[in-house]
Structures are given as structure tokens and as C-alpha cells.
């Protein structure tokens, strides 16, 4: 199976191109990435970031305004050469968010259509349908109609339909978002297993970071039609290239600070946090000189909340804050904090009561802080990022 390459993909909506009123909106802005053979590749981002448009462009359901997409030596689209391959000519498998099973056809008939279109004999078609249904564990449901099945089963039929003709690339558009929480976890595990089993190059679109982190070989994080970072789940989570990535993946607090004591990348440096005026020691992710403004990203789960009575924490290892509210979330506590007028979130298993006025200390290990040069706070949502558990919208 070939690798899939996307280069300079651009798409604008509105304006003169489609005839609708209003100024054009750039949905995709010069998006490029390569998906390796057999890889599970995820496009992750909030709604409206362009991930589904990217997928639609790969599938051929949207014609991009610029860019080139190839699978191996097959050119799907190349706007410079004015080439465009219709969706049916791309030989892709696609699973839709709503499953898009044809309601008037049985499960078998749903799987049969792509095979018929490819001119297979009755016997071959039957063999393939059986094999595909066995693969998704629905062997006995051949004659059912979609509306007679549960959501989870429908989703598996959709997957079987996308796989039955062994397409070159599998495209999944938020396939799990219509399942309830418990089922979604099971489906996730099952999907990963199936993908590894089939070994098909897969592009997965989701806004759920947990799905992305658990399933993917690599993740591309998108925002506002731009590609922010492409990397393995660890890279994305541990070494976000961009405050926005840190903001979207996991929960992250952002604070402005001024470098007091500079240093090279990897060295521990001291910064003065603007909101509190207190120093903090952090590991620099790039070279910072004294006097530079930096944006600190602090993961909620890397913060330890300490009551003031627990002894004064080490000089530059902690921030003073005020406890606003403590919420119980089962496995741990979520703390809403005020850090020099700046709202922050922390997660801790310990129960901590604030002192007078709810005063607490927040201790952060130096390597628990990301440093980004300059003031980048405008690029992230105010306050903490999205909750980790991915309570999908």
C-alpha cells in the first residue's frame, strides 16, 4: 500500500468562488503532510479547524482551491495541472460520522454494492462479504436492515463496507463520536486492533484527544485551517511545538513571564512570573536570554497543590495562588485557582485546604513547564485548556 502525500492544500469557502455572499473564509491554508504505508494517522483539532475538509479533499468530496494529493504514483488532485480524480476513481474506503449506511439495503447489500461496481462474480462477492462481516464480528447479521441494529453495530457495518473491497487508504471521519462513552472506549480498542490486523493506511479525523493519543501512530494537530504540529502522540503531548497544541491536547495553563537568568535549550533557567512577580525555575526548550518575554505552559496534572502550612517550598519551585474551588472528579480533584488574578487549573489526588484567603502554593517541576518565546497568550483560549477526559461535544 502506498504512502499518501498532501502538499500545499488550500481551500476557501464563500466569496466569489461559490457564489454565496460574504467574504471568503480560508478553511485550509497550505496544509502539507505525508502518511506512511500502513500508518494510523490522525487529524486532530477543534471543530472548524479544517480537519474534515482535509479528509473530504483526500476523498475527493471537496475540490481544493490549491495543492496536490497523491497516493503512491496516483495523483488524486493537482490544482496546478488541473487534475482532479472523482471520489469513485480513488479507491478509498471511508467511514462517516453518521455511518451513512443506505437505509433501504440490507447489511449484505450495503457491502455488495462496491463489489458489484467492481464487477466481481456472485461467488467472489459473497466470500468477501462474509469475510468482511466476520472481521467486524457481524457474520450473522447479513440480512438485517441498518435500522434494526444498534449504533455500535451500524458503525461496524460501515467499517466493513469501507474495507470489503480492500481500498488503498481508509478514511475515518469521527466514526466513534455517535457512540456513548463506554461503547466508545471498547470500539477504540477494537478499531486499533482491526487496523493493525488489516494493516491499511488509515487517516482518522477526530476532535477527541484521547482517541487521537491512544489510536494513532502519528497525529497532526490543526487549527484555523493550519497545520500546527505533526508527530507521535508522545511528541505532541510532551513537546508541543506551539502553545495552541499544548492548549488543545491536555489541560494547560499559560502564564506570561520575563527571563531573569537566561540559558541554552535544555538548561534550567529562572523566570519571573508576571502575574505574581515571583521567580520560577524551568527547563528551557530553546535558548532564552535574560530580559526576554516568554510564555509558560504548565500542564494541570504537573502542578502539585500545597497548603501554606506544609512548609515553605523551595525558593523558585513554586507559585503563590489562591484556591477558588475544589471539585471532586472521581479519581482526583480539580482545583480552580487564582494566580495573581490569573485563573489556573490543577489536578491532584491530594485534598488540600487553602489557608487564610485560601492561600496555597503551586509547585511545578522544572521539566513540567513549556517555554515559548514571546507573548503567545493571545493564541490560546483563556484559562485552562480542554479537559483531558475528552467529554466530547
Amino acid at each position: 500500500m502506498p504512502e499518501l502525500t498532501v502538499r500545499g492544500l488550500t481551500k476557501r469557502f464563500g466569496g466569489a468562488t461559490t457564489g454565496t455572499a460574504g467574504t471568503p473564509v480560508t478553511a485550509l491554508d497550505d496544509v502539507s503532510f505525508t502518511v506512511n504505508d500502513g500508518e494510523f494517522f490522525t487529524l486532530l483539532g477543534p471543530s472548524g479547524c479544517g480537519k474534515s475538509t482535509t479528509l473530504a479533499a483526500i476523498a475527493g468530496l471537496e475540490a481544493p482551491d490549491g495543492g496536490r494529493i497523491t497516493a503512491g504514483d496516483v495523483v488524486f488532485v493537482d490544482t496546478a495541472e488541473k487534475r482532479f480524480l472523482n471520489p469513485e476513481e480513488r479507491n478509498l474506503g471511508m467511514v462517516f460520522q453518521s455511518y451513512a449506511l443506505w437505509p433501504h439495503m440490507t447489511v449484505a447489500a450495503n457491502l455488495d454494492l462496491p463489489l458489484k461496481l467492481r464487477g466481481l462474480s456472485r461467488a467472489d462477492r459473497d466470500k468477501r462479504i462474509d469475510a468482511a462481516l466476520e472481521q467486524v464480528g457481524l457474520g450473522q447479521y447479513r440480512r438485517r436492515y441498518p435500522h434494526q441494529m444498534s449504533g455500535g453495530q451500524q458503525q461496524r457495518v460501515a467499517l466493513a463496507r469501507a474495507l470489503v473491497y480492500s481500498p488503498t487508504v481508509l478514511l475515518l471521519d469521527e466514526p466513534l463520536s455517535n457512540l456513548d462513552a463506554k461503547l466508545r472506549e471498547q470500539a477504540r480498542a477494537w478499531l486499533k486492533e482491526l487496523q493493525e490486523d488489516v494493516g491499511i493506511t488509515t487517516i482518522y479525523v477526530t476532535h477527541d484527544q484521547t482517541e487521537a493519543l491512544t489510536l494513532s501512530d502519528r497525529i497532526a494537530v490543526m487549527r484555523d485551517g493550519k497545520m500546527l504540529q505533526v508527530g507521535t502522540p508522545e511528541e505532541i503531548y510532551e513537546r508541543p511545538a506551539d502553545p495552541a497544541v499544548a492548549d488543545f491536547v491536555g489541560r494547560c495553563n499559560f502564564l506570561l513571564a520575563e527571563v531573569a537568568e537566561g540559558g541554552a535549550a535544555g538548561a534550567e533557567i529562572t523566570v519571573r512570573v508576571a502575574a505574581t512577580g515571583t521567580p520560577l525555575r524551568v527547563t528551557a526548550r530553546q535558548e532564552h536570554a535574560a530580559g526576554d518575554t516568554v510564555t509558560l505552559g504548565i500542564r494541570a496534572e504537573r502542578i502539585a497543590v500545597r497548603a501554606p502550612g506544609d512548609g515553605e517550598p523551595g525558593g523558585a519551585g513554586a507559585l503563590p495562588a489562591r484556591l477558588v474551588r475544589r471539585l471532586y472528579s472521581g479519581s482526583r480533584y480539580e482545583y480552580e485557582l487564582d494566580c495573581g488574578g490569573h485563573p489556573m487549573t490543577a489536578e491532584d489526588t491530594a485534598v488540600v485546604e487553602g489557608g487564610t484567603d485560601g492561600a496555597v502554593w503551586l509547585t511545578v517541576p522544572p521539566d513540567g513547564v513549556y517555554t515559548f518565546a514571546g507573548d503567545r497568550t493571545s493564541e490560546v483560549g483563556t484559562g485552562a485548556g480542554a479537559p483531558v477526559a475528552g467529554a466530547a461535544a
Binding site: 469513485e88 471511508m94 468482511a132 473491497y165
Partner: protein, 589 residues
């Protein structure tokens, strides 16, 4: 089985996973076939709509009839039209009739739909069904029935006259009388849209209002009526245009009292004059077209959103019916009263006329009971032939128009076709083409485009003219259904390897079958009662029920007209009921 041996099994497995190539589709001149189909549909629609319009516009600009040689370009037709002292009155009268009809129909439809759909009125369901019946009857026949009952010597007129001691309690032959009759003919359209909107309305809004302490009447006034604004707007414009181009009612009521309306004005200039002034006819038609085009454009703008197609048949969710207590009998009285007085009595009169030699309050109908009218119809192959022709026209037309409309909807709403909007506009444009202009326009086109000449006087020509007129209705019946089908069903088919056409033929077609059936019935009903275009296009071998009725009427065979109408209504009823059965079967499949 051989499967117990391991190796073939494994080989089999591998075979099942072997990649299959994408299906190949042939291209024509480098473009996929969908492109050809889409351009083809657009071209056909354009031709069909332009065929009657182009000669009309041309005729309006030349001084002599199109067929006469030596006609020079001459805008004088328009000048003459505007200096014609009668034309101003024609415009005023037509607008007045259209306005009155629209107000009456819409008010009636709103009241009746609220009563019959949302209020617990005794017999509401049955009355709702009966209300739709005038849609199956041509206005000519309805007007005929109204004259029998409410005309100067009508049954009800005489009875009421005796009762209150007045010679003429009212005057049917007036703009007001015409408006009342066309109201009965057109109310079903408004009722169709209003009642469907009510059925599909989200009842949680009403529940919310009720929990706030609003009584049923208050809910109806403050929540339900405002929700009906889109269907009211849409049907009001439909009715306005339809009553502007109405021909038969002005012809029947207006002539004796010299009230000229647009339809009859065109008819006079086109058919009745010793030397028809085709220039003025063309100019008047162009003006009319322009005016209707403006109206249709406004309609399009007002209903720009998907509201435009308020589903003719939507999801039938259970609607909550208000209990008004004793007031419900008032509701019953309103609905039943309308049904009896509006379409009921005139229809009864029509049936009575069909079975009598002469129908007059002066003689007992029992004395003149006769099957003679039906014998006239069945005694002449020309008359039975016209029934057969009408059936052929309606069936073939119903199928053909439904196919064209379905393709138009697909191209307009389910394709990446560049001119999708233009396709939709073209398909809906015939709304602004009155039957008289359609007939005359096609007649000229057929005469002057040599390859079309064999069509002259054939049923094919009539089917085309009637069909173009019915196209917007078919489009309107199919579009909402197609819009209800999620776009990802198409996308899924495309992704598994179906091209645009196969996506339609393998997936969508079956899903929109109920809409196609609904469209067929609608077109059938429209075409079996249509006639104005056939006046120009038909010849001895291609008479349809409508034109035969007109001939019989002018020759004094009113009984035969009534008999023919009864037969037409019976045929329509059979088709509608049969289609209803099919629907039910379909819904369960």
C-alpha cells in the same frame, strides 16, 4: 468441506484481502458522464422553457403575425397596448381578482388547517381529505358547477331569493364572484402547505407555552400562527400567480357582463378576433411574463432558505390536538360549512347536470333524468378518444415530467454542477408561463423550427406543453424529499466507487421513490385537467378532455360537459386512491 485443509483457507483469506482496482468509468471527450448528463439536463430544461418564450418575445417586437412575411421590427405593439383604453382596466381587474383570491384562500387555509390539524374537531381527518378535492377538478368545471348553484338562476340563488324576497340576492358574475370561485379552486394549495407545516411543527414549543400558563387559543395565536408565516408566504405567491393567469373562470363569468381579465384578454386576442392582433398579444404576454418573473423572483428571495420547499409530505409525527370544549362544534361548523358551500354543492350540481337532459330549478330533475349525456360521450369515437388521449397525456406526461424533474432536482441540489442554481431557476420558471402563452408559443416554435414540424397537432406536442407547465409542481414535490436525505449517503456511495449517475441509480433512486410517486400523481392530476395550451396545439386527432369540454360547451352540450367532467373526476379518483395504496405499501417496505 475442503476448508478443513489449512492452505486453501489461507489462500482464500489472502484473496479476500487482495486490493481491488477502482471501477473504471468511460469518459467522453475527457469529461465524465455525469458532466454530460448535467449539461444535458440543463440544456433540455432551457430548451423546453425557452421554446414558448422566444417566439412570444419575438412576436411582441414585430408588426405582423410571425407567419406573415415582411414584418418589420416595431416596438409599436407596446405603444398600442398601452394606449388601448381597455388594457388598464384589464390590469386593474386581474390584480384585484388575484389579490382577493389570495387573501380569501390564505385566510381560509390558515383557519381550516389550524382547525383540522391542531384542534380536536369532529371528523377533522375526513374533512381534511375532502378539502383537497378541488385540486383534481379543473377550474372550468368548478365554475360550471358554481353557475348551476350560485349563478343568477342557480338553485341556491333562487332559494335564497325566495326566502328573502329579492330577485337577485347576489351577483356571481362579478370580480367578487370570480374570486370566491377561484378561492375554492386554489385553497387546497394553501391548505397543503399550511397543514404540512403544522404537522411538522415542533410541539415542544407549544408545550413550553402551555407550561407558561397560556390557554389553547392563546397558544394558537401566539405560537402556531407565527410559525406558519413561511408556508403562508409561499402559497400566497403561488395562488397570486395562478389566479392572475386564470382563464376559464373569467371566460365563463366575465364575458356576459363584459369584465375582461388577463386570461380572457389573451384568449380574445389570440383566438376570437376575426384578425387576431398577434403583436398586441405578444406584447401583453411579454408584460405578463415580466410581471410574473418579478413575482417569482420575489418569492425566491423571500423563501431563499430551505424553507422554500416546505415538504409536501414530511415526517408524520404525532401532533397534539387542542381540545376547545364546546367551541369545537363551531370549528366543525366552519369546516363543514365551507366544504358544503364551496366545493360540495357545485359538485353535486355537476353530477346532477350529467344525469339530466336539462337542469333548471324550473323543472324537477327527476322528470328529465337521462343517460343521454354519457351516450353522447360514448357514442362518438372523438369524445371517447379525447378521454383516451387525456389518459395518455397524463400518464406519459406524469412519468416524463417526474423523470425530468427528478433529474433537475438532482442536478440542482445534489451535484457539483456549476450552473446548479440556474437549473433550479429554469425548472421553476414555467410558474410564470400562463397556459395560453405556453400553447401559442409552442405552436409557433413547432411551425418555425423545421425538424419539429412533424410534432404539429400531435399528442407529443400537448404532452410537452402541459408537461413544462407541470414541471415546477413536480420539482416542488421531489426537492424536499431529496433534501431530507443526508448528503453523506451520496458521499458514501461515491467513496465506494459509484460515480454520480450510479449513486443516483443504485442508492438515491430507491430512497426517493415515494417522492417520485407523489410527483407522478400531482402531474397526472394537473395534466388531465389542463386545457388552455391544447387549444392551440391540438387537432382533430389530439383532442383532450379539456378541449372537448370547451367545444361541447360552446355548442350547447352542457350536459355532455358535465358527464365528461364526472368521468374525469372518477378517473382521477381511481388514480389518486391507487397511488395512496401504493404509498402505504411503500411506507411499510
Amino acid at each position: 468441506m475442503a476448508d478443513v485443509i489449512e492452505t486453501p483457507q489461507a489462500r482464500d483469506d489472502a484473496a479476500h484481502r487482495a486490493p481491488l482496482p477502482a471501477p473504471r468509468y468511460r469518459r467522453l471527450l475527457g469529461a465524465p458522464r455525469e458532466r454530460w448528463i448535467q449539461y444535458g439536463v440543463f440544456a433540455v430544461l432551457l430548451l423546453l422553457v425557452l421554446a414558448p418564450v422566444v417566439p412570444t418575445v419575438w412576436q411582441s417586437l414585430v408588426s405582423k403575425p410571425l407567419y406573415a412575411s415582411g414584418g418589420a421590427l416595431d416596438p409599436g405593439n407596446y405603444a398600442r397596448l398601452f394606449t388601448d383604453e381597455g388594457f388598464g382596466t384589464v390590469i386593474v381587474n386581474s390584480l384585484l381578482l388575484a389579490a382577493l383570491t389570495t387573501v380569501f384562500s390564505v385566510v381560509l387555509a390558515v383557519v381550516l388547517s389550524v382547525l383540522l390539524v391542531r384542534v380536536r374537531v369532529p371528523g377533522g381527518r375526513v374533512m381534511g381529505g375532502l378539502l383537497m378535492w378541488p385540486i383534481y377538478i379543473s377550474p372550468l368545471v368548478l365554475a360550471f358547477g358554481w353557475i348551476i348553484v350560485y349563478g343568477p338562476a342557480g338553485y341556491v340563488t333562487s332559494a335564497v331569493g325566495h326566502l328573502i324576497g329579492a330577485e337577485e340576492p347576489w351577483n356571481l358574475y362579478s370580480i367578487f364572484g370570480m374570486a370566491l370561485t377561484s378561492t375554492v379552486a386554489l385553497t387546497p394549495i394553501a391548505y397543503l402547505y399550511c397543514s404540512n407545516a403544522l404537522r411538522m411543527a415542533d410541539s415542544s414549543l407549544e408545550h413550553a407555552a402551555r407550561t407558561c400558563g397560556a390557554g389553547p387559543l392563546r397558544v394558537i395565536r401566539s405560537v402556531i400562527l407565527p410559525m406558519m408565516r413561511p408556508p403562508i408566504m409561499y402559497s400566497a405567491l403561488l395562488i397570486f400567480t395562478a389566479s392572475l393567469e386564470e382563464l376559464s373562470i373569467p371566460l365563463l363569468y366575465g364575458k356576459p357582463v363584459e369584465i375582461e381579465l388577463f386570461g380572457s384578454f389573451l384568449y380574445d386576442y389570440g383566438l376570437d378576433e376575426a384578425t387576431p392582433d398577434y403583436g398586441i398579444l405578444g406584447a401583453a404576454s411579454v408584460l405578463f411574463l415580466a410581471f410574473l418573473a418579478v413575482l417569482v423572483t420575489i418569492q425566491g428571495l423571500v423563501l431563499r432558505n430551505s424553507r422554500r420547499f416546505i415538504a409536501v409530505r414530511g415526517k408524520a409525527t404525532r401532533v397534539h390536538r387542542f381540545d376547545l370544549g364546546r367551541l369545537r362544534w363551531a370549528g366543525f361548523a366552519i369546516a363543514a360549512g365551507y366544504l358544503i358551500l364551496g366545493p360540495g354543492l357545485p359538485l353535486l350540481g355537476l353530477i346532477a347536470r350529467a344525469f339530466t337532459q336539462v337542469l333548471s330549478p324550473l323543472v324537477s330533475p327527476l322528470k328529465v333524468l337521462s343517460l343521454g349525456n354519457f351516450q353522447i360521450i360514448f357514442g362518438y369515437s372523438e369524445y371517447t378518444g379525447s378521454i383516451g388521449n387525456s389518459l395518455i397525456v397524463a400518464v406519459v406526461g406524469g412519468v416524463a415530467v417526474t423523470v425530468v424533474a427528478a433529474l433537475a432536482v438532482l442536478v440542482a441540489r445534489r451535484s457539483g454542477f456549476r450552473a446548479a442554481k440556474a437549473v433550479e431557476f429554469t425548472a421553476l420558471a414555467p410558474q410564470a408561463l400562463p397556459g395560453v402563452i405556453m400553447g401559442l408559443g409552442f405552436f409557433w416554435t413547432i411551425l418555425f423550427v423545421a425538424p419539429l414540424r412533424p410534432l404539429q397537432g400531435t399528442l407529443t406536442a400537448i404532452i410537452i406543453a402541459f408537461g413544462v407547465a407541470a414541471l415546477p409542481a413536480a420539482f416542488g414535490a421531489i426537492a424536499p424529499m431529496v433534501m431530507q436525505i443526508g448528503g453523506e449517503l451520496d458521499a458514501a456511495a461515491r467513496s465506494v466507487g459509484a460515480d454520480w449517475w450510479r449513486t443516483f441509480s443504485r442508492v438515491l433512486l430507491r430512497l426517493i421513490t415515494p417522492a417520485l410517486l407523489a410527483s407522478f400523481v400531482l402531474v397526472f392530476v394537473n395534466m388531465i385537467k389542463a386545457f388552455s395550451a391544447a387549444v392551440f396545439l391540438g387537432n382533430a386527432d389530439s383532442q383532450v378532455i379539456g378541449t372537448t369540454s370547451l367545444t361541447l360547451w360552446t355548442n350547447g352540450n352542457t350536459g355532455a360537459v358535465a358527464a365528461l367532467s364526472c368521468l374525469q373526476i372518477a378517473i382521477t379518483a381511481v388514480v389518486v386512491v391507487a397511488a395512496g395504496r401504493l404509498f402505504k405499501v411503500n411506507a411499510h417496505a
